[in-house]
């Protein structure tokens, strides 16, 4: 080492064997990404979304895709460095339906040790054109523990169904309730005035799968320090 060069971490690594160096860097990259995402290991994805459904949802979020052509546009970063903003896309699982009501289940994960603030949240539902003009659809948003029979109503939104296509319903308060209460499931019950079953209005195609998108800000839970 030349005088004045000092012993830097990067200099240490330069002395390693290339193969050892590569595997060391790959492990470092894995640990770095997992820790920044607050994950202990890579998630086990049991229900991947079809690329048609995902690209349609991303297109709705005005994110241009390059694969085929996805380029990510991020919400503006919060000035506080330990606060991380991110967007959650949750695709609906169909629930039980009745003549005038159908259910859509949405799953979210609680971040242990972090408090989550929901900045925006919308539910997108693709509705076929109703047979006759002017159907009123009401989306009731309920929180329930898995298996409990008494869900809690946390929101009610009307939807005017004139033409077929995507309908957006603002659901920020309902999603915030989920993250504030924890350990529950968020369900949207769609009720339709009139004789047509709401389930018939919903499209079965993968690219029209209902989804919720929420912009969230997570920060470490408030710590109380003893002076």
């Amino acid at each position: 080492a030349e005088p004045g060069a000092g012993r830097c971490p990067a200099c240490e690594m330069a002395a390693l064997d290339p193969e050892v160096q590569k595997s060391f860097l790959i492990e470092l990259a894995k640990q770095r990404i997992l820790s920044k995402l607050h994950l202990k290991e890579q998630p086990n994805v049991t229900q991947p979304v079809s690329s048609a459904g995902l690209l349609t949802a991303l297109a709705r979020l005005r994110v241009r895709s390059t694969n085929p052509s996805i380029t990510l546009e991020m919400p503006s970063r919060s000035p506080k460095t330990d606060v991380q903003e991110y967007e959650i896309l949750s695709f609906a699982e169909p629930g039980p339906s009745a003549p005038n009501r159908t259910c859509l289940h949405f799953h979210f994960t609680q971040d242990a040790g972090r408090s989550v603030q929901i900045l925006h949240a919308n539910m997108y539902v693709f509705l076929a054109a109703p047979g006759s003009p002017g159907r009123r659809l009401t989306a009731k948003l309920l929180l329930s523990e898995p298996g409990d029979a008494n869900p809690t109503l946390v929101g009610r939104r009307p939807l005017e169904v004139k033409r077929g296509g995507w309908a957006a319903v603002e659901v920020r308060a309902a999603v915030q309730s989920f993250f504030s209460r924890g350990g529950q499931r968020l369900t949207a019950e769609l009720e339709l005035e009139g004789s047509l079953e709401p389930a018939l209005l919903l499209s079965n195609s993968e690219s029209h799968r209902p989804f919720m998108v929420a912009t969230a800000r997570a920060s470490p839970r408030h710590r109380i320090r003893r002076r």
Binding site: G6, C8, L25, K30
Partner: protein, 114 residues
């Protein structure tokens, strides 16, 4: 910024790309296809301290004062990132929701001597 090549000895940026498919991560990371974990390497002898990159910082002013006062024995300089950018990710979390996030300061764009 100076890119490293096979003969580089002084501080430079070394490119290193981790392909998510190669490490079996393509199932849960949707985009991008890999991570440019570039890093800084090489030596910073005294006469190149603060080159390139930090020339306009107060570090440089202090280092120059020390050099002028011949305080070599107490000063060392290290090759560090001088410019970084976020890594934008689209990935599945534990319950198969899709998350879109932007991890700050994850990709090194340029290196310099402190």
């Amino acid at each position: 910024a100076i890119e490293c090549n096979s003969k580089s000895r002084t501080c430079c940026r070394k490119q290193f790309f981790v392909d998510f498919k190669e490490i079996g991560w393509e199932g849960w990371i949707i985009q991008p296809e890999g991570y440019h974990m570039n890093y800084c390497t090489g030596q910073c002898p005294m006469h190149v301290a603060s080159m390139p990159g930090l020339a306009s910082s107060f570090h440089t002013a202090i280092l120059n004062l020390m050099k002028a006062n011949d305080a070599h024995a107490t000063v060392s300089s290290c090759c560090v990132p001088t410019s970084r950018r976020p890594l934008s990710l689209l990935y599945y979390n534990q319950d198969s929701n899709v998350i879109k996030t932007d991890i700050p300061d994850m990709i090194v764009d340029a290196c310099g001597c402190t």
